[in-house]
């Protein structure tokens, strides 16, 4: 992941966290991948949202916990809309929003 993508990913952490119905943003990567990355990048903050790029464009994965008050599919859709709005004109290959928990 390039420095550009790190910055975007950190920005997306905030964007996603502010979406109505989102209660938590989880790390998109498994713990082990995350600890390897944190070893590699030193003390800098590691983004929770994963951003990678291939020939087709950006691939973004956000893992979230959502509120029980709203329907989970609608909250997931709002998250993906917010991500697209935040990325702007950059080509996107895939936005994946994974609901990992419904808070009750």
């Amino acid at each position: 992941m390039s420095a550009d993508h790190d910055e975007l990913a950190l920005r997306l952490d905030e964007v996603v966290g502010e979406v109505e119905g989102v209660e938590a943003v989880f790390s998109a990567d498994p713990t082990i991948v995350r600890s390897v990355r944190s070893l590699a990048s030193g003390p800098e903050r590691i983004a929770l949202v994963r951003v990678v790029e291939d020939s087709e464009g950006l691939r973004i994965l956000a893992s979230v916990g959502v509120s029980d008050d709203r329907q989970a599919p609608l909250t997931a859709r709002r998250v993906s809309d917010a991500i697209r709005a935040a990325v702007g004109g950059h080509p996107i290959a895939e936005v994946h929003v994974r609901v990992g928990r419904v808070a009750h």
Partner: protein, 217 residues
């Protein structure tokens, strides 16, 4: 060094052979041991010291019943990092570059919470059967529950079924077929007497003690 004891009471069997016999549950029966008074006394002693060994550990535990909260917090944080996410269950999306999913683990938790919300019910296991990764494929849900006594199992199971169905309808797009609720257990409310074998706040076991628990004498 010959610490192997000679045969016991002229039976032709040594102490170690008696111990093996005891470990085998004294089966198949060996009349030379069963009919020998000294062997019988030794078998009783062997089984007594084995029981005492288990009692000793139970007593140690009863004398130190508190769990170090820092130790427990460390354990739970390690465990909490290993989420059982399971399969990704899709939500529909009109845009082919948008993928919306909910994890199987989140759905299980949802079902568990829905069942627990019925007064007098605790959910045990939750199974989601069917190809959940295929949009529109019918899935069956199987839930085991524990209920408090003196409540109608049929009514509680029906209440669980309704709440589970409505939560799944709200938060997933699964085509939910049968919701199978099995009453597998009974538990008491915290205000009631503790359940047999359940553990009270101080960590001691109550009710009929399992075989290897400390015996009160």
């Amino acid at each position: 060094m010959t610490e192997r004891s000679a045969d016991i009471g002229g039976s032709g069997y040594t102490l170690d052979e008696l111990s093996d016999y005891l470990d085998r549950g004294m089966s198949p029966a060996i009349p030379a041991i069963d009919d020998n008074a000294e062997c019988q006394a030794m078998l009783a002693t062997l089984s007594r010291v084995a029981g005492l060994s288990r009692e000793l550990v139970s007593r140690d535990a009863a004398e130190n019943p508190t769990i170090d909260e820092g130790w427990l917090a460390g354990l739970l944080s390690a465990v909490g990092r290993e989420v059982r996410a399971g399969r990704d269950i899709p939500f529909s999306s009109s845009d082919p570059t948008t993928r919306l999913t909910i994890t199987e683990g989140a759905v299980r938790e949802l079902v568990r919470a829905a069942g627990d919300s019925v007064d007098g019910v605790l959910v045990g296991t939750v199974a989601i059967d069917g190809d959940v990764t295929q949009p529109g494929a019918e899935v069956a849900v199987a839930v085991t529950i524990s209920i408090v006594p003196r409540r109608s199992a049929r009514e509680l199971a029906e209440a669980v079924r309704e709440r589970v169905r409505s939560e799944l309808l709200k938060h997933t797009e699964l085509a939910v077929g049968a919701i199978d609720v099995t009453v597998a257990d009974v538990h008491l409310l915290p205000s009631d007497e503790p359940a047999p074998g359940a553990v009270t706040g101080d960590g001691t076991t109550t009710g009929p003690a399992p075989r290897d628990e400390e015996e009160q004498r």
